[in-house]
Symmetry: C2
Subunit: 207 residues, 2 copies
Amino acid sequence: MRPALGPKFRRRAGARPDEILDAALAVFTDKGFEVARVEDIAAAAKLSKGAVYLYFDSKEELLRGLIEREIAPIASRLAALANAGTADPKAAVRLIISTATQLLDNPRIFATPRLVLSVAPRFKEIAAFYRRRVVDEAIGAISVLHRAGVAGGVFRDIDSEAVARMIMGPLFIQAMRKHVLGAEETASPERRIDAHIDILFEGLVVR
Amino acid sequence: MRPALGPKFRRRAGARPDEILDAALAVFTDKGFEVARVEDIAAAAKLSKGAVYLYFDSKEELLRGLIEREIAPIASRLAALANAGTADPKAAVRLIISTATQLLDNPRIFATPRLVLSVAPRFKEIAAFYRRRVVDEAIGAISVLHRAGVAGGVFRDIDSEAVARMIMGPLFIQAMRKHVLGAEETASPERRIDAHIDILFEGLVVR
DNA sequence: AATATATAACTGACCAGTCAGTTATTTTCA
DNA sequence: TGAAAATAACTGACTGGTCAGTTATATATT
């Protein structure tokens, strides 16, 4: 019956889980976890719904798989940043801010944090997992950096968690405003980075 | 049939919509908009499901009504803050930070922003409405304050939006961490406020 | 009596997850 | 080599449960 459009499927099961997770991320981001239909995800992965269930036991398992996959690279990247930066803490903070600004500007990358936050009320362990693996790690990395700066006489001796909030907070709220509330960007990333570092390092008050 | 347990209903209906919205806020916050059942909301308001539909046309209307009701006091409060503070901008910034810290620590108050963010992907106009009425207003208020400080020679002349992000970002990320990801508070609100103002005003770098 | 308020039973659409059957790919062995 | 057998990948129709919204009926208020 089918005209000659090539084979309907190939032996490529090894690649399937990743393809399905890609599709899941897109659909979850677009509609939210609850509203997303497994059939939509299947369609986006060019499969039937039944095939999705060959690779994942449930819609929830799809969510878990996705988050685990997306978390891995972040966690390792963070640790690397902190360790690399102890020699020149000011430059390292600069690097963190500019790297994170660029990452968070990217919708594809911000999609997972966004998704985690949206499912957190229902899936407490996912929330806890993300907090430990990403948020706490990030705070830890910044803390290491800050303490190194204090030891080197570069940074003032303030609560490290407060410093972490002053670094990540502005980046995060900007990302939420842009990606979730749909706000326009008024300043370019470069200008935002410069302004952020300026206020963070020099303070707001005239001296 | 019913034994003498008093009348089955006797209230003036005038109070109902507000009671239902209170119940809706509680249930939406607990389960999220999609998962929340109208029957749960009805039960929380001590009504039958049918009765809810006497006051609201749909579940979605319940959401809209709720958000509108919760937004009103915030918007007016913000404008007041900015205008009141032009005489002593430093004190006004201090006041904003300590007020907002306390407000955002309160789960009942953070519930609406949280809800808005969670439904934003599905209900774009709600997101846009909230952005205009709350986020943009807040930025505007801080901007007014900052410009006043610059004019008075107290604050450095930096991009006002960056200043707004440095004020609201750390507060917001802390609230998300606590209320959404379920993190413990490590420092008291007072200590957080002090540290925040210290870094914001004086900067991180030793001079 | 007439109206406003409320209930409980009901309907219809929707969708996660299942499964019997189909199609492609690989292996076996003549 | 090439046809048959075995296996892996996949499909789509179906089921069972859930829930937003409706309706027929009952109770309170004026």
